[in-house]
Structure formats: C-alpha cells, structure tokens
C-alpha cells in the first residue's frame, strides 16, 4: 500500500488523485513530483493533479531517502538482491524502479547507492481487459502468447487478466507463474494480494531458467506465465519450456512486431514459432489499447 511508505504530506495529495487510473509516481531529487494518470503526466500538487508547475510539490534528498527507508522497512540489507537489479517490489505488487550510483566489487554489482530518482509503479487489476484477445489465446487449444508493448502500456495488467479469465472460463489449466520481480501476483508472506483465480501456483524471486526447470519438474504446469523477456538467457529458458510442451504466456518490451524482429535473439523465437499469438499493445487510448493480434506467421488476425 502506498501509505506504508509515502510520507503523510505526499499521501494527502495522492489521496486526491483518481487512484484507479494512477499508474506511476515519479520522484527525482530537486525536481517536481510527477504522476502518470490515465496515460498522461501531471504535476502532483497539494490539491491533487495539477498542470501548473508553480503548484507542484517538490522532491528533495531527505524525502527520497525517507521513502526508500520506509519502502525497504528500514532493512535495505534484506532487499539488496532486488536493489542490485534496480527495483524494489513491495506488497500488493507495487514496484519501485530506482536509479543512482552502481557500486561494483570484483566486477559484480554489489548494490546501488546515492539513489537520485525513483519511479513508483502502481499495479492494477482491470477485469476483462483481455477479453478481446482471450478468444484468440484459447480457442480449440491453448496458444502460446507473447504480449508486446513499450513500457507502461499494460502488459502486466493484461497477463493478470488472462490468468483470471482462464479461471473464470473454467479452463482447468494448472498455471505456474514465474514472478521474478514479485510484480505479477504481489505475493506477500506466501499470500497472494491479487485475485487471479484459483488455478495458479507462484514461484517468486527466481530467475526464469531456474523457475522453469524446477517448476516443470515439481508442479507439472500446463501453462507457465512470465513477465518481461529481455535477454538471451530468458529466450533460451523459453525455448527449453517450449520443448517441454508447456504452454507459455510472456511479455516483452517492443513497440511493434517489426521492432521485435529486430531485437537480438527474438528473431530466433519467431522463426521457431515458439509463440502462436502476438498481442501488441500501445498507449494511444490509454494503457492497454490493442494495436493488433498476430498469429505465428505474424499475420494480422485482429485489430
């Protein structure tokens, strides 16, 4: 919950925002606080949203340090493995992206210090947001699906709803969620903080290959869900999964199918037809706007 780590002054202003449409709060040392609401940036003022720069609340180092201290529950040492990757995930799936100075030791990232800006991403569960795509994901069979969009366009929200729709439509697939960054389900002390149905298991915090290998062996999933495929290691993990005959729902950052093809290693996934559905989202009418759905041959099947 935001009130667990945001100081009262900021929280009083945040309460005046349309919380259902709040996606991000951006704080940078020495700069005005910005909020991303319904696909648009505004200043955060004591009266809520504002387009007037003069009314905007400002962030300083003391405020930022206090937020980080409270977000880590005054126990940075316990979440350093997340900090090293540039984020913190809190209960309820709230994710704080961080930027600052990387501290290295023997060529390895030890921690991040002198944090100068943070981006608080507020997760949402938008019921039925995946319905238009759902009939293409599950028809007579389950189709491996990759959701692509630039950051902040609703990929994770879409994935959550697909998991919920599988449950709601009584497809009794065993879904294993590989929640590497604790963002998909917002598990807190072994309890899910989001309602994604009843047919899913969650492995949090592990990298994809480890989770896939162990999850396939131990949980016998029909479908594995994972977020943010980015590097060669992730792609190899997906190939492993595809070879195991397990269904896949994943997401990746890319503007469209063309840019996806140009990304290193992704061409390999396309060529091998690991995915038979590509859902492209953008922000043109707010997060989660469908730009198109493509099949395994990258032919347009839905607009």
């Amino acid at each position: 919950m935001l009130q667990d780590f945001l100081p009262k002054g900021i929280m009083d202003a945040v309460y005046k925002l349309p919380l259902n449409n709040l996606n991000e709060i951006r704080l940078r040392v020495g700069a005005k606080i910005l909020v991303y609401v319904a696909g648009k940036y505004y200043y955060l003022s004591s009266s809520g949203l504002s387009s007037d720069e003069g009314q905007a609340l400002k962030c300083d180092k003391i405020l930022l340090d206090e937020i980080i201290s409270r977000a880590t529950e005054h126990s940075l040492y316990a979440v350093n493995y997340q900090l090293k990757q540039g984020f913190l995930t809190l209960n309820d799936g709230i994710r704080i992206g961080l930027s600052g100075e990387i501290v290295q030791e023997n060529g390895r990232v030890k921690t991040i210090k002198n944090i100068s800006s943070i981006n608080i991403r507020v997760p949402h569960q938008i019921r039925n947001c995946s319905l238009d795509a759902f009939k293409y994901i599950v028809n007579d069979k389950f189709n491996n699906t990759l959701i692509i969009s630039p950051p902040g366009c609703g990929k994770t929200t879409m994935i959550r709803d697909i998991i919920y729709q599988l449950y709601k439509h009584r497809y009794c697939y065993n879904v294993l969620i590989c929640d590497e960054r604790y963002e998909l389900c917002g598990m807190s002390n072994g309890q899910p903080t989001m309602n994604l149905g009843e047919y899913y298991d969650v492995i949090s915090g592990g990298n994809k290959l480890y989770t896939f290998e162990n999850g396939v062996r131990s949980m016998r999933p029909d479908i594995i869900v994972t977020d943010e495929i980015a590097n060669l290691e992730d792609i190899e993990a997906l190939e492993y999964l595809s070879a195991c005959g397990v269904g896949i729902i994943a997401s990746a950052h890319s503007e469209n199918i063309e840019t996806l093809k140009q990304k290193p290693h992704f061409a390999r996934l396309i060529e091998k037809k690991v995915f038979s559905r590509y859902i492209v989202l953008d922000n043109s009418k707010g997060p989660g706007t469908y730009k198109g759905i493509y099949d395994e041959n990258l032919s347009f099947i839905y607009y």
Binding site: P7, S69, R70, T72, E73, H74, S75, L76, Y77, A78, N80, L83, K110, T111
Partner: protein
C-alpha cells in the same frame, strides 16, 4: 520506640542508597541487552536476512525493562509515529542513566541500521559491538565499585543520622 525510629531512619537511608546505586545497575543491564541485540541482529542479517521489525518483535521479550522500552520507542520511530528528534528526546527523557554522548551514539546507530547492504551492515554492527563492549566493561567496573560502596555508605549515614537524632 527509639529502636523503631532508628530502624526506620536506617531503612530510609538504605533505600535512598539503593535508588542512587540503581543507576549503575540499570546502565549495565542496558548495555548487556544492547550487546545481545547487536549479536542477534548480526546473526539474523548474516543468515536469515529478516527485516528489522521482525528481528525486534521476535526478541523483544527476552530483554529487561529498560531495553524493552528503548526498542518500543525505536519501533514507533520505524513505524513513522515519531520523527528522529522525538525519538531522540524520548530516549533522553527515559534513560537518564546514559550520558548525552552515549545517547547520541546509540540513537545515531539505530537510526542508521538498515540503510546499507548486508556486508556493510555487518561491518557497522561489528564496529558498534566493539565500541559498546568497551562501554559495558566500564559500566560493569563502575557497578562493582560503586554499588556496594553506595549501599554501605547509605547504611552508615543512616546509622549516623539515627544516632545523632536519638
């Protein structure tokens, strides 16, 4: 009657002695608990990496009254109920047996726990433990020296006053 008055004066004087001596006992106990807390925290950070509040909640009942009170004040600070200044003031108010410098050192240490990665946290704890071990030794020595002396003196003063009065 004279015997009753005599005994009463000696008892009152001894009680005052005990109250004066208690400062040394409380200080030693506080540092014993503080050192134990540091050892526990060191182990927790090193192995389980439990969060600070959980470490406190799991162990608070093992400590004596003064340190338990200190941890409760600290928890209020962690929960954001009081700010650094109020936490500092509350410690000054409740732990008069600690010097101003000691309070400053302890409060600064507690305010800074959990702000660095595990390796640095363990280093900081090690340094602090060495420091308070020295203070604990000093407090124990003073307790051994002064507590029996104050109590004996208070009894003697009581007897003296009683003789003079009676």
């Amino acid at each position: 009657m004279q015997i009753v008055v005599f005994v009463a004066i000696v008892l009152i004087s001894t009680y005052i002695g005990i109250v004066l001596a208690k400062k040394y006992i409380r200080k030693e106990n506080f540092y014993i608990d503080l050192l134990a807390f540091c050892n526990t925290t060191f182990t927790e950070i090193n192995f389980t990496q439990n969060k600070l509040k959980k470490i406190i909640e799991q162990n608070i009942n093992y400590y004596k009254k003064d340190f338990k009170l200190f941890l409760n004040l600290y928890k209020r600070y962690l929960d954001g109920e009081v700010n650094k200044e109020n936490f500092d003031n509350a410690v000054c108010k409740n732990f008069e047996f600690l010097t101003e410098q000691e309070i400053k050192k302890i409060v600064t240490f507690f305010i800074n726990i959990g702000k660095v990665d595990a390796d640095n946290e363990l280093n900081n704890l090690d340094i602090f433990k060495k420091d308070i071990k020295g203070t604990l030794d000093d407090a124990s020595t003073k307790k051994r020296q002064f507590v029996p002396m104050i109590i004996k003196l208070s009894i003697l003063v009581g007897i003296g006053i009683a003789i003079l009065i009676i």
